[in-house]
Structure formats: C-alpha cells, structure tokens
C-alpha cells in the first residue's frame, strides 16, 4: 500500500458530517430515473407514458451509442416523462408496484466470470444499465468499451465531503467487492483502490485490497486527483474510474442477474444528527425529507452536484443530499468584522486562530470582481494547475493555451471557485470549456 502525498486541498472542518449509523427509509409512491446527472448523454426515449415497465427494462438509451441503456430502477407504470427547456429530457417518473418484477439476465458465479468472454460482459453491462458506472478520463464521459484503459481507479470515498463512508457501503459486502474487482481485472491490468486514510482503519478485511491511501482533506480522494498524482505518461490520461457504490452494484448485477435496487446515501441537515440512509435507486427526494425552508438550498453535494427541488428524484450518480442554510442577508460592515465563526482558507479572519468546526452556508459572501492575480486558487488546487492563468486563456478563447496549461487535468472539485476572493466562477468556466472542447473532439 502506498501513501499518496497530496499537499493541497481544503483543510476546514465542517458541521453536519454524517455518522456511520444506517437507517432505512422506504421510497414513497414514485421512483424516477434522472437524466440530468449523466454527463454528456443525449437521451433517446424508449418508452411512453402509461406504459408498464419491469425493474431493469430500458427507459432510454444514449443516442451516441444506442447499446448503452439506462434502465428502470422499479417495476410499475410510467406516470410522466419530464422535459426541460428545449425538450431536454429531465427524468422519467414511475409509479411503482409493491412487488418487484425483474428483467432477468444470466447470473454468473465468480468462477465462471474468469472464463466469460469480455464482449459478453460488456453487452450485459450495457443492456443492464450499468455500463455507465465506468467513466473515462479526461472528461469523465461514459467509458469507451473498445478502449483498453491503462488503469481503473476505484475511489472508496465519494466525490463530495458528505458522500457515504466506505465502511458503511462495504459493510457485509466483502464478497461483492472482491467480485467487483474481478470484473475490473477483465478490463485493465492495473486496478487502483484508494481510500481516505481516516477510513482505512475501519475497513477490516478490505484493507488488503487497498493500493493507495490519501490524506483526509477534500478532494484528495477524487479519482481525478489520484490520477494526476500517480500518472506516469500521457497514455494514463485515458484511464477509467468507478465509484465504490457502482462497483458493488455491478458485482451484484452480474452475480445475480438482477438489477440491484438498493442505494446507500447521506442526507445532511444543519443542527441534526445525520445518519446514512439505506433506500432505493431513484428515490424521490420527498420521501427523504418533508420540508425545505426558503432560506435553505438543497443540493446534491457541497462542491459538486446540482440544486434539486423536493419533487425530483435522486440520480444514479448522486448519493448525498445536502440542506445548506442560505440566508440572503446583508451584514452591516460585514467586510471588516473580525469573524470568529467565519471559515476561510485565508488568514484574514480570527477564526483561523482556533480549531473550529464550521457551519457553512450557500451564499457568495461578496460580489464578482476582476481577477487580481492573488493566487489563492493556485494555492488550493490539488492538481497543481494555475487556475487564474487557465481561466484567462479560456476567457480569451485560447483553448490551445488552456489545454497546455493543463485544463484537462482539472478534476472539477470546485475549490478554486470556493476560494476566489473575486468570486469568479472558475469551476463553471473550466467545466464549460472542457465540455465544449470534448464535444467538438468526439
């Protein structure tokens, strides 16, 4: 096991971190399959409203590769298909029956997996709706099945600070985990399993599979950060990654032949004890919580994700729902207060003098200004980018220069936007630039 030394990241401690306990919440009447959190997808609907679907039947596929299907996480009748502006598919909502009726695939035992042809495994994953678990760098698009990745990175911690803990997801899942690693070995010779060092001790038997530990500091467990710190050549830039919960799902699916519907997620609210939640894929947010105040933001991650509303459903790639206070309040002389309770990576608040756990809020704390070259973004970027220079290249539409400066190494952790005193939306600028470059290229 190797200890990765990553020096830059966010060292602030937050209130409301989830506890390791697990409670069960059953979903209410509807289950949804969201298309909003699937990067780059151009969905093509395969079903109509009022149609009855089984658990595992395809609801839509990707126009770019129609063999990659996205399947229903429940059995029931399609209640409605929600479109956004310009008829963009947002989600398919299913009113579900009490009993699951599965679309059955071939169940493959661990010993048979080894002899199973790779092509068959790929088509089963694509048909079963789980090929999307494999994401390919640099843009983290759905992996290209014809490509042999130089390595596959499994990060046991999720992409946000508040994502479920690995020890909770892995509880009694040792076999599935090992089975999952066997699946990965069919695709690449080099499997990286990385975990936040804080969680390493709690993993028990799993420890022997860990190849790297990373410091307990967001976002050092992000696959993009791990890749940047271990890559040796530019071929490694086309590696794949998969998250832990998806690896377990994949293993359950191939070994049982049924679409796995369980999902472990976290729900964090201010001033409350936040347990992990065992629920179902595509659960409606209504089922998880009753009310959100107007002075709160509900997101699927503090740094990543999107703003969600209670009537929508949790996406395939989302496993944390965060309620963050967001009081749009103007503070008298706010810019010069000593700030004992105001977290900052800079040394301009007294809160830096003592080790405090902070309650964050979802407001901007200032107004947008021009970049003044202060290098706060550079000091926090885990992948050693010079975000201010990259941003200037992107804004000047000099994409070549931006790429040379390492734009594609950006893991979109959001820390540059987090720290910018001029409140420039660096992460949005980078992610748009990567998207448009990637779409042009493909």
């Amino acid at each position: 096991m190797e200890k990765l030394s990553i020096s830059k990241g966010l060292k602030i401690k937050f209130h409301g971190m989830p506890e390791s306990s697990l409670i069960k919440i059953s979903p209410q009447k509807t289950i949804g399959l969201s298309a909003q959190d699937i990067p780059y997808i151009r969905p093509k609907l395969l079903v109509k409203e009022k149609q009855h679907v089984k658990t595992g039947s395809p609801l839509f596929c990707d126009k770019r590769d129609k063999t990659i299907q996205y399947v229903s996480p429940a059995t029931g009748t399609i209640q409605k298909i929600v479109f956004g502006p310009r008829r963009k598919l947002l989600e398919v909502v299913i009113q579900f029956d009490l009993q699951d009726d599965y679309v059955l695939f071939e169940a493959i035992s661990r010993s048979h997996l080894e002899t199973m042809p790779k092509g068959k495994l790929i088509s089963q994953l694509k048909e079963g709706g789980l090929w999307q678990c494999f994401r390919q760098f640099p843009a983290k698009d759905t992996a290209d099945a014809d490509h042999n990745p130089p390595m596959i990175i499994v990060s046991l911690n999720g992409n946000d600070l508040f994502s479920p803990y690995p020890e909770v997801i892995l509880d009694q899942q040792m076999e599935h985990f090992e089975y999952g690693l066997d699946i990965l070995k069919k695709f690449s010779n080099r499997i990286i399993v990385a975990v936040n060092e804080k969680h390493y001790d709690k993993l028990g038997q799993i420890q022997k599979w860990i190849s790297h530990t990373v410091p307990d500091m967001y976002p050092s467990w992000d696959p993009g950060v791990i890749l940047y710190h271990i890559k040796e050549s530019s071929e490694d830039n086309l590696s794949w990654c998969i998250s832990l919960d998806h690896l377990i799902m994949m293993a359950k699916f191939i070994s049982s032949g049924q679409y796995p519907v369980d999902k472990i997620m976290t729900l964090t609210k201010p001033n409350s004890i936040n347990s992990h939640i065992l629920t179902r894929q595509g659960v409606s947010i209504n089922a998880l919580l009753q009310t959100v105040h107007s002075e709160q933001s509900m997101t699927t991650g503090h740094f990543n994700g999107r703003i969600v509303t209670p009537n929508t459903h949790v996406g395939f790639f989302e496993n944390t729902i965060n309620i963050i206070p967001a009081q749009d309040k103007e503070k008298l002389f706010g810019f010069i207060l000593p700030g004992l309770q105001t977290p900052s990576v800079s040394n301009t608040f007294l809160s830096r003098l003592k080790d405090t756990v902070f309650q964050m809020d979802a407001t901007l704390h200032g107004e947008k200004r021009a970049c003044i070259n202060c290098s706060y973004c550079e000091n926090i970027c885990p992948n050693d980018l010079l975000p201010h220079f990259v941003m200037k290249a992107v804004v000047n539409e000099n994409i070549e220069e931006a790429l040379q400066l390492g734009l594609l190494d950006c893991c979109q952790c959001g820390l540059c936007s987090y720290t910018c005193p001029s409140k420039i939306e660096l992460t949005t600028i980078f992610s748009n630039a990567i998207d448009s470059y990637y779409k042009d290229k493909v």
Binding site: P138, K231, S233, S234, S297, G301, H302, F303, N304, R306, I307, N322, A326, D328, E330, K331, L332, F333, G334, F335, I336, T342, S344, V345, S346, N347, T348, F349, A362, T363, L364, H365, G366, E367, R369, A370, C371, I372, N373, C374, S375, Y376, E378, D384, L386, L403, Q404, L405, G406, L408, D409, G414, L415, Y418, T419, C420, P421, S422, E425, T427
Partner: protein, 387 residues
C-alpha cells in the same frame, strides 16, 4: 430592520431601473455595499464559498497602511515645526501634519473616485475596491508640500493612463499609484526631487531639507556613514523615521509593521517582500565589498539602504500589488529580488536619480508577465501533457 438599511432601501428606486439618478448607480451601489455587505445565494457549484472577498482584501491593505499614515501625519507636522525652529508636541505636530496631509489625501480620493465612477458608469460595472488602496498609497509617496493641483493631475494620470486604458482593475500592467508618482516625478521634478521641501506654515515656498539619500560625504571627505550621522540620519532615526521625506516613506518601523501584518494575513505575498529585502541585502553587500568610493551610498551597507528612502514602503505596499506583480510563486521571488537589486543599482550607480525604488518597481512591473511566462514554460515542461 436597521434604520440605515431603511434609508438605502428608500433611496434605491432613484438609482436603479428608471430612477432619476440611474447614471450614478455604481456610486450608490458602492456606498450601499460598504455598509451592507452583500451575500446572494449561490446558483452554481460549488455551493459554499469562502468568506474572504475583495472588499475585505483591500480593507486589509488600508489597515496595514494605518501606522504609516498616522506616523506620516505626525512626522510632517513635527518636521514642519523643526524647520521653524520649534519642537512641537504630539498633538500640535499631529494637527499641523493633518493640516498638510489631509487635503492631499482628500484630493487624491476625490479626483480618483471621479474617474473610477466615470469609467464604471460607462463600462457598466461595479466600482472596484482596488482604488481604495491606490487612492491612499499615492499621497503617501508625495512630499507634504506638493501643490494640490499636481496631486489631482497625478492621480488622474495614474487612474486613467495607468489603469483604465488597459481595461480597469486587474488588467493594468503598472501599479497605478506608482504610475501617478512617476508622472509627477518626471513632469514636476522641482516639487518631487530628492531635496524634499519641508512643509512650513508661514512660508509658502517652504525651505529645503535634504533627504538621506541625497547626502554624500565627498565634500567633507568623510565616510558616508559619518556624513549621514552628522546630518541627523543615523540608523536609529532612519529606522524610527523622524526625518524629512515623503509623507509615508520615512519610518522603517511603520512600514515593517504593515509588511508583517500583510504577510501574516496573506494579503501580500511574503515572497515579494522577503525576496526584495534579500535582493537589497545581497546587492548592497556586494557594493560594500567591491566599491572603493568611500564617500557615497555604495559604501553604506545593507541596513542603511534598507531603512533609508522609500524602499520598505515600496516593497511592502507597492511591489506587493498582486495585479502588477507576477502570478506565479517563483516569479514572485525573482521579481522581489530584482526590485531590491535595481533599487541599489539606481541609488548607487545612476547619478540622475538619488532614489531608485519607484523606477525599480515600475521596471519589474513591466517584466512581470515575462517572468510568469518563463516560470509557466518551466512548469509545463515538468507536467505530463494532457491534450
């Protein structure tokens, strides 16, 4: 609701939308946000944000300048008293100093903000806090006797030509406050030159008092140190700063206090300040060793060079302006070091200028993008390409 907030809310319709004073909306906005710090909800990821913003950032520079400002006001009054042959007390020195210094600051802020507001209105953006610093830095680099119309012209040049023609804050190549000073320095050398005029109340023209840097020991045939000591510029007074000179530059200790505050809070990059002091030390020691001109500043040694003139003021407050300094850390070390180096070169070798720090900083401002370019090229050569 706060009563002040009520007033702003009542005034707001006049300045926004179809209001009567829509044209000066940026001014209203700047005043309002000075009192009531805005914090709108985030709409894009990351949803949480750091509490530091540019208003606080710039206010910290003002805080760091306070010791320099207060001492500068006191010293101006004190020197003016000395020139009249009396030793003024603390309060009267302070009042006398304020009489000279405050008008300069008011003119600098007033005229500068006029240009800032004008450009903000035309370009339809908010007023940047950067000028709060520029508007205070500039007066502190001037002698107290400067005519106010020159202050107005100087700050106009600094803001318009030094900053706004490049696109405003964040896009300027040169430090606007130093650009303003350089403009006055070359346009009106009489009011700006090394022989600073000590402000005297009853005498419009003032009387001349040499600054430390214009002294040499050649006429008396004594060493530079004894010549300095004889004129009252021993290391002790240079350090504390009760000597004639520009308003803000005389006291080394006040500049150091500001510099330490800025370095601890991380507002100024310590690499520039430490690099600059290192550059100054190395170069002045080299001159001390190799030079045989016993009477001149070449032989003054590092501590005299550090405390005399405007070096500490310049390196702490001017060179650390993040916009005109390099944006990479190795670049900042080189930049700082070169400022120290060129300051000594100008002071010692160039007979045209007794003080070199202003020109050294402006010169390195021009080279900052080149330093960045070199550092980035080097860094990229170490990176595994991803294109």
């Amino acid at each position: 609701m706060h009563p002040l907030k009520k007033i702003f809310d009542q005034l707001e319709p006049h300045f926004t939308g179809t209001g009567k004073y829509k044209a000066i909306e940026p001014l209203f906005d700047a005043t309002k946000t000075l009192f009531f710090f805005p914090s709108p909800k985030t709409t894009v990821r990351p949803f949480i944000r750091d509490f530091l913003d540019l208003k606080r950032y710039m206010s910290f520079v003002i805080l760091a300048l306070l010791p320099v400002l207060i001492f500068g006001i006191y010293n101006t009054g004190f020197q003016s008293g000395l020139a009249q042959g009396e030793r003024l007390g603390l309060i009267s020195s302070f009042l006398m100093g304020a009489w000279y210094v405050l008008p300069i600051i008011i003119v600098s802020y007033g005229v500068g903000f006029f240009w800032e507001i004008l450009f903000a209105v035309i370009r339809k953006h908010k007023i940047s806090e950067g000028f709060l610093v520029t508007g205070l830095l500039f007066p502190l680099t001037l002698p107290a006797t400067i005519p106010l119309w020159q202050v107005a012209i100087g700050i106009s040049f600094g803001v318009v030509i030094g900053k706004e023609v490049f696109g405003g804050t964040g896009r300027n190549i040169l430090n606007p406050a130093l650009t303003a000073r350089a403009f006055l320095f070359f346009s009106y050398p009489v009011s700006m030159s090394g022989n600073v005029w000590v402000a005297v109340q009853n005498n419009i023209d003032g009387i001349t008092g040499a600054t430390a840097l214009s002294i040499n020991g050649a006429s008396q045939g004594t060493s530079i140190i004894s010549a300095l000591t004889e004129k009252g510029f021993d290391l002790f007074s240079l350090f504390w700063g009760l000597i004639p000179g520009s308003i803000g530059e005389t006291s080394a200790i006040c500049c150091l206090l500001g510099a330490i505050f800025l370095m601890i809070t991380g507002i100024a990059n310590y690499r520039i300040i430490i690099g600059g002091i290192l550059g100054l030390f190395v170069t002045s020691i080299l001159f001390y060793i190799i030079s045989d001109s016993y009477y001149t500043w070449a032989h003054a040694g590092p501590f005299y060079h550090l405390c005399a003139g405007g070096f500490l003021f310049g390196i702490s407050f001017m060179a650390t302006d993040p916009v005109s300094a390099p944006g990479t850390n190795p670049g900042r070390w080189i930049y700082g070091f070169c400022i120290g180096f060129f300051t000594i070169i100008l002071r010692v070798v160039n007979p045209a200028f007794v003080e070199g720090v202003m020109l050294a900083i402006l010169f390195m401002n021009v080279f900052a993008p080149l330093l960045d370019h070199m550092v980035i090229q080097y860094k990229l050569s170490k990176r595994i390409p991803n294109v």
